[in-house]
Symmetry: C2
Subunit: 196 residues, 2 copies
DNA sequence: GCGATGACAGATATTGAAATCTGTCATCGC
DNA sequence: GCGATGACAGATTTCAATATCTGTCATCGC
């Protein structure tokens, strides 16, 4: 048990929690494990996080926020809205697929965390729908699209592509026919947008 | 323990199995329970079904097949393909929502059965995609649509509407904003079809 | 003869006692 | 004074002994 070389901070606790989750999985990871990994008593962890639930929520939020940046850059870029939309959806799908493929067990761990923290997940989803809406709005501004309710359209795009971003479908993302399926849905949706 | 009033048939066993599933749920229902409900020894059940798995598969298939008829009637009806498509999707969604809403526990039971019998579920899905393909083909024949690959389009329609027919989303089907969400996706897809 | 039976072996599930965990707080040592 | 500690109560989990279930088959009774 090495004495703490650094002051105990929320950031260090979060890092240790992620390690413990990776090692033991969400079902077995305990606050005591986290404290042990940090070489402190579990009481000290409770000084920085009100409860085990709060700790897990913080980890979940960190994980979900990883995606936001690169996607938001695409949403705010220049160029035809249709191209950016396709790019955005493809990037989202590719990112999810990579995460799920590289370490399925870790992905399952975070999926479980996201499932138990539905509030935080819902906020995350709203943020992504915001980005879709931004693209749709820019398409309306440029005259590419002509629908009235950009947000309803953003949400419809999110719903219609669930198969390709909802983690419950992750086990099937490695199917050989996923790429054609994604392309077909994407084309159908973009045709629908341009038709307005 | 009343002696059997009717000869023991697969149909009677299936019925008893459904009763037992309703009563105890999929996790606790046993072959012994089914035999007890029928007033026979469990050995007799094995005379008609090779295994517990086979029995559960038969029940699953029966449950899934319920939907086919009314939907297939819509798929083969006359009239504009776009209208029938919307009708078909709406009917499917309404049927699922009704089942999930009336008795959520029973729905969860059958969802679990369907999950463990992925082969049978996959066949069921292919049948429904066949019906979507039939509608798309009739739309091509009538000049409404012009895409090349009707089946790819049928599958894209299935994928894009997953949110409204995949049982994993059942808990959210009672949300107040499900109807507008369904309408938005439906409209977007139909616009996309007509655009070709 | 033939469908039904129930004893049986191995697999699976249940149960309850013991161990561990969560969250609190009076106390410690710097 | 102040962050860290560990003992503690109540909740949850683990584990091993016990009971039940699955699937088979020799035997029964009609």
């Amino acid at each position: 048990m090495p004495p703490p070389e650094t002051p105990l901070t929320p950031a260090r606790i979060l890092e240790a929690t992620e390690d413990v989750l990776r090692r033991y999985g969400p079902a077995k990871a305990t606050v005591v494990d986290v404290a042990r990994a940090l070489g402190v008593s579990h009481g000290s962890v409770y000084r920085h996080f009100r409860s085990k639930t709060a700790l897990r929520e913080a980890v979940t939020e960190r994980w979900l926020d990883q995606e936001h940046d690169s996607l938001s850059r695409i949403a705010r870029a220049k160029g035809p809205a249709a191209d950016r939309l396709e790019d955005w959806l493809l990037t989202l799908f590719a990112a999810k697929r990579r995460k799920a493929g590289v370490d399925p067990e870790l992905f399952a761990t975070y999926l479980e965390l996201a499932t138990e923290n539905s509030e935080i997940t819902a906020r995350h989803v709203e943020t992504l729908i915001d980005q879709l809406t931004t693209i749709v709005e820019s398409g309306i501004a440029s005259g590419e699209f002509t629908m009235r309710d950009a947000r309803a359209t953003g949400r419809a795009l999110w719903d219609a592509t669930a198969r390709f971003h909802d983690p419950v479908y992750a086990p099937r993302w490695s199917d050989p026919d996923m790429d054609p399926a994604f392309a077909a849905v994407c084309e159908l949706l973009l045709d629908g947008l341009r038709a307005r």
